[in-house]
Subunit: 292 residues, 2 copies
């Protein structure tokens, strides 16, 4: 946990509350089907929202048309502009992605009256919330926000963050989610001593096992892990629960990242050795050549 | 922009809408001042919210007490439990961080009736939104969410993401924000051709300049950049706008990260050379020893 002085060091204010909004079964009104609108649809589909899209047909970009065609159960499309307060009926969230600041301002005002959170693209002062550069890998989602200071830089930082990931984190997280769900089936208590013990055990295995090892979990291994681990109040090693040998790529990666996150990967580990050998060979060649 | 087939590859559903919620001037009710409550206060202060905290005094951890003492204008503290619907009056957001699932359930139900977004710690099904592991560096904020699959793993991935950053991104973003604000003073149009031209110019300089160079921008340089750049429809080099020589650390870093984000940093560049030399010296020593 952060201490107050750490917060002070970070200069407390000026930021946003970064949250993962739950939209399953919720209704979202999107006004505008251009480039920005299409990108909003992508975000909304990932969050399982039902989308009502308002946009004259001439304003649709090809990606939006593809979405409408591909997800008829998820997107209700009306080929017209926003007509008035009735459009907000039963909406949980409203996004505008249109060129007219005046129209955006009108819609945002109506939303505020109706207590519906609203985002108006490109007009920060009308927004209850901002979007940012996003990474998605299965259940893993990462958002990078510049708090309006440089959207292009968020995109560049996103590339850097993406490069720091191994590409297996999403799959590993899915498997950890399956393990947690199975454990909750055995001990469904919420909170209390059992809840804390469950959280502690899950934390311990997440610390002890290299992340990539979780990608190999299957149903049989999950059951063995709970029988030999949870039931006996210990964390088995990967080898204890898996009869098959690890694929070599996982072995190489997990041996260099055991437990704590390490910044080395397999290739980072081999490159210094290769460079050392190259230097040695070079010097040997030079000295042999001079000797002759 | 993502295409529909890219979205499909990512398996559309099952995620959250990742957003940066704006809480400046907004009122947040926090019920519970324990470990989790204290961490919520940190997030809320960073977002400039006004916090009303309800918690019997015996439930406060030291960090929460520090916050209450340190930010009396930002936190209104009542040493008691939640008493009923009147507590929600004029609240924009509600967070519970208490041990009793029944009390959380009651509060969340009242929030839903009043259309106030709510997060109940540890009870995902009561939450309109989740938190995740967070990184803050000035205006840069990054959130990592496992969508409930493994909070411990989000924390580990956060360490990995943090290690991929150079530590100067927040300062660079602040300076880019100052440049953008100065440009908006010169051409305040929203949207339209001028808005697009402004966005394009900002994008181009963000692509052309290594990110770390922005950290050195001062007021004089910003004006020169706009005079020599924006006004002449071009992007000057850093050297054109800065009379002083670059500090050597910036020089080394920016020369290896020019424009596009590169995965090499100064130390990554020197390590292979050092290894090569170590190999060469080692081999020389071995061969000289054998010659004697």
């Amino acid at each position: 946990m952060q201490t107050v002085s750490e917060i002070d060091d970070l200069s407390p204010g000026g930021g946003s509350l970064m949250i993962a909004w739950q939209l399953k079964g919720k209704r979202v009104l999107l006004v505008g089907g251009g480039e920005v609108g299409a990108s909003r649809i992508g975000h909304l589909l990932r969050a399982d929202a039902h989308i009502t899209l308002l946009s004259p047909e001439k304003g649709l970009v090809p990606t939006t048309k593809d979405y409408i065609a591909k997800y008829p159960q998820r997107i209700t499309y009306y080929g017209r502009s926003f007509t008035g307060p009735a459009e907000l009926h039963k909406m949980d969230l409203v996004l505008t992605a249109i060129d007219s600041p005046a129209a955006s301002r009108e819609i945002a005002g109506l939303c505020r009256q109706a207590k519906i959170p609203v985002n108006a693209a490109d007009i920060p002062e009308l927004c209850d919330f901002y979007f940012g550069a996003q990474i998605r890998d299965g259940p893993l989602q990462i958002m990078i926000s510049s708090n309006g200071n440089g959207p292009r830089i968020s995109a560049l930082i996103k590339e850097r963050v993406q490069a720091s990931l191994g590409g297996y984190e999403g799959l590993a997280l899915s498997k950890i989610g399956m393990l947690r769900a199975e454990l909750k089936k055995r001990v469904p208590d919420i909170g209390g001593a059992v809840g804390r013990k469950r959280m502690k055990w899950m934390s311990k295995i997440c610390n002890d096992w290299p992340l990539i090892d979780f990608t190999l979990l299957d149903d049989a291994m999950i059951h063995k892990l709970l029988d030999e681990g949870w039931e006996k109040n210990r964390v088995p090693t990967f080898e204890e629960v898996c009869e098959k040998p690890k694929p070599s790529v996982v072995q190489a990666t997990s041996s260099s990242t055991s437990g704590e996150v390490s910044k080395t990967s397999r290739s980072n580990f081999l490159i210094p050795i290769a460079n050392f050998l190259a230097g040695a060979v070079f010097m040997a060649a030079v000295m042999l050549a001079r000797r002759r």
